[in-house]
């Protein structure tokens, strides 16, 4: 017998509600897609300062982001689903961040980690962008200066919730287009 068969602690994601019978299961496509997406989010870390260090701890063995299906950190925006912005974004870096966001394929989500990324933080000054939501839309904000890894994980779980519940039509909707237009995208 192979050792894997002795591993009884395997945890499976619960199946969505649906009609079940002998040899078939019927559920809505949306739920299946949501389930698949939310348990395999590929994050793209955009770390510029101390929040980035907290993120490293979050990724490492102790806090282990892989528990939530995100061990595969990508450094190519085209492959990734979630842009994690961690740290102070100066005005000069604003266009770079925006470019990275634009290069990501839909559907894409943004997690803003830490006081600086959310609002400029203590850097109430001429050179610092007062929150990344000035240039790109943000889905979840994680407060803290810097937030502890638990807080980052909590923000990540909030993102998972959003991803799992998102309607498949959302990104074709009028409201979403309006949001994009308000940021001057497309």
């Amino acid at each position: 017998m192979r050792p894997v068969q002795y591993n009884t602690k395997l945890k499976m994601v619960e199946a969505p509600e649906g009609m079940m019978g002998e040899g078939f299961m019927a559920t809505s496509f949306e739920k299946v897609v949501g389930l698949a997406r939310k348990n395999s989010i590929w994050p793209l870390p955009f770390a510029t300062s101390c929040c980035g260090i907290e993120f490293m701890a979050t990724m490492a063995s102790h806090y282990d982001l892989a528990r939530f299906g995100s061990e595969r950190v990508g450094f190519s925006p085209r492959q990734c689903d979630l842009l994690m912005v961690m740290g102070t974004i100066s005005k000069k870096m604003g266009p770079v961040l925006r470019q990275v966001y634009l290069q990501m394929a839909e559907p894409r989500w943004v997690l803003s980690v830490g006081a600086c990324a959310c609002s400029g933080g203590i850097f109430d000054t001429y050179s610092v962008l007062q929150g990344i939501d000035q240039i790109i839309p943000v889905d979840v904000y994680v407060p803290g200066c810097p937030p502890r890894p638990e807080a980052i994980l909590d923000g990540f779980l909030k993102i998972q919730e959003l991803v799992g519940q998102e309607s498949l039509r959302r990104r074709n909707g009028e409201k979403y287009k309006e949001l994009m237009v308000s940021y001057g995208i497309q």
Binding site: K92, S119, G120, D124, Y126, S127, L129, Q130, G131, Q134
Partner: protein, 168 residues
């Protein structure tokens, strides 16, 4: 006899007479002021003189004194003699309405970026600089942020989200 502050001062006064003023030695570092049209001549002399040999420009920056009418901006040069390990500093004052100072780029390559930075933050116009554009701030910036008339925290700024700071 090793080079010291007195010899440097003597050599400079022999060459430039009483045009150099305000001699000080804070923390044993010789400091003086030169008229702004003389800055390149002083730098060249300090560079070329076989004894002085100040051939390393450690730093170059500006200070804004809004209360000194007619000489609001001062450009400060920090020079280092690497042979005798002696540092000096000299200042050039200029009116903020005509902030033109000769560029030291022909003498020191390192002055290129430092003059760009000084231009970026204080608006000192270094005449003769090959590429005097902003280096650290965004290109669209239309003011010089380190001048004292611009407060660090501008409460009227439009991109400031007061709600985030509990002061709506």
């Amino acid at each position: 006899m090793p080079l010291n502050n007195e010899i440097i001062k003597q050599k400079l006064t022999d060459k430039f007479g009483d045009q150099l003023t305000d001699w000080q030695e804070p923390y044993c570092m010789l400091t003086f002021t030169a008229p702004k049209n003389l800055n390149l001549k002083v730098l060249q002399f300090l560079f070329d003189d076989p004894e002085l040999k100040f051939r390393f420009l450690t730093d170059l920056q500006a200070v804004h004194y809004p209360d000194r009418k007619g000489e609001e901006l001062v450009v400060v040069y920090h020079l280092h003699n690497l042979v005798d390990n002696i540092r000096i500093r000299f200042k050039v004052f200029t009116d903020i309405k005509t902030p033109d100072v000769y560029s030291a780029t022909a003498l020191y390559q390192s002055a290129n970026f430092m003059e760009r930075e000084t231009y970026d933050f204080f608006g000192v116009n270094f005449t003769g600089h090959p590429n005097l554009i902003r280096i650290l701030n965004v290109d669209e910036m239309d003011y010089f942020p380190m001048r004292k008339e611009f407060p660090l925290e501008d409460q009227t700024r439009t991109d400031k989200d007061d709600e985030m700071f509990g002061r709506s």
